[in-house]
């Protein structure tokens, strides 16, 4: 009995939500222009993209870019801190207009939300000092590379590295980084965010990007069917890439120039 009641309740609520949801955010761009404010979801626990500083204010790559969008739209930005688990529901229920929360694109997400063009680099790659040239996997021949055992970059590198490349696998990120910094390996395979954090804290040996081994850049998330807003956001991203504004944000938070292919 209860079971059947719950089932019908689920059915009813699904139907209600399905009919209500589209009207909840019909033409967000028009609403934003009218009200002069835009609500943007940003991370609060994911440095350097977004974290809460000592002054309790969020700061980071995503926050800077969210503010840039607001400036371009001529709207006041209302930052809404989200976690990686609830950022999509915040968007689908109309609590925010945009999600700028270092979000990657995948098939499941594309079923429920739309994406802009890529606005931030997020990748696993090979890093090393400037004097070592390595622009593709073949050029790793004879090189020693430190990597954290079992990580995504370990699995990818193990597939693409030539047999003469020496992959040294360590227990955790810390040992992997220390092995590179102390000169025990010539190169290191890790994430660009990790590399940025290391470059900020240590001047022992610079980590410059050599090439990408797995790319999953960040996109702005939008509610389904917001073509006008999507076009506007894409326009802002293209403009920021051209003017160097995005590169400036990248330099500030990732200590690296924006990859050309982004």
């Amino acid at each position: 009995m209860l079971n059947r009641f719950l089932r019908s309740l689920t059915l009813v609520s699904t139907v209600v939500l399905a009919t209500l949801a589209p009207s909840a955010h019909a033409d967000v761009l028009a609403n934003v222009t009218k009200s002069g404010t835009i609500k943007i979801a940003v991370p609060q626990d994911f440095p350097p993209f977004g974290s809460v500083g000592a002054d309790m204010k969020p700061s980071g790559y995503d926050i800077d870019f969210a503010n840039l969008i607001g400036k371009e739209l001529g709207a006041k930005v209302e930052l809404v801190p989200v976690s990686s688990a609830n950022r999509v529901p915040f968007l689908t229920t109309g609590k925010v207009d945009l999600v700028v929360s270092s979000m990657g694109k995948n098939a499941e997400r594309e079923k429920v939300i739309d994406f802009s063009a890529a606005y931030a680099p997020f990748f696993n790659g090979i890093f090393g000092p400037d004097e070592i040239k390595a622009s593709k996997a073949d050029e790793l021949a004879g090189r020693t590379i430190s990597v954290t055992r079992g990580s995504v970059e370990d699995l990818e590198l193990s597939k693409i590295a030539p047999p003469s490349a020496v992959i040294k696998r360590f227990e955790d990120n810390n040992a992997t980084i220390t092995a590179y910094l102390s000169g025990q390996t010539q190169l290191i395979a890790t994430g660009n965010v990790v590399a940025a954090a290391v470059n900020e804290r240590s001047k022992l040996r610079r980590l410059s990007t050599k090439f990408l081994i797995k790319d999953s850049p960040c996109f702005v998330g939008l509610a389904k069917g917001e073509a006008a807003l999507q076009a506007k956001v894409n326009e802002i991203i293209a403009k920021a890439k051209k003017s160097g504004a995005l590169n400036e944000i990248s330099q500030r938070w990732l200590h690296a120039t924006l990859p050309a292919g982004l």
Binding site: S146, R149, R169, F170, E171, A175, A179, S182, Q184
Partner: protein, 223 residues
Amino acid sequence: MAYQFDFAFIPDYAGMFAHGLAYTVGLTVAGGAIGIGIGIGGAISRLWNLRPFGNLYRYYVELFRNTPFLVQLFLIFFGLPSLGIKLVEWQAAILAMVLNLGAYSTEIIRAGLQATPPGQIEAAESLALTRWQTFLYVMLRPALRKVWPALSSQVVITMLGSSVCSQISAEELTFVANFIQSRNFRAFETYFFTTAMYFGLALLIRQAMRLIGRHLIVRRPLS
């Protein structure tokens, strides 16, 4: 029980396991042979207070017996490059094993030498043995015979301790186990098999040490 045991992947990794086992054996043989050599030198220097070795040995033994092996290993591998001394992982692993076992065996062998009854040395002198003969046959050999079981145990302990060399990417047996486990997530099967290999290896090392002791030192059955 929900977990489905599956050991079928072990043969696929037979080559890697063999590589890891050989690496561990290599570390143990090198560490054991050189370490015991250092121990004999150290015991003599300490006992007769040969300058400057006696004092140097004292600091060395205290330092290495009172710090964790893992930290010694990290200091050698990650720390020494800052001083311009760069050892690759197998060199760092062997050096750490040698230094560690050297420190412990110094104390073990010194105990054996100190237990030589003075009358035994006086007897040797009255038989007109040279100093070298006295040392070799009347002191060192009986001393090693006394402490050989303790020394064998220390070699086994050092062999088991070599598992932490996986932390500096030395591809010994534990490294291989961790690597395989990171690829197929079959933790129980991988570590069960690895445990069996370590156990077998420990028994083999004890047996080997018995044989070495019998042929090189005692030349008569061990008690």
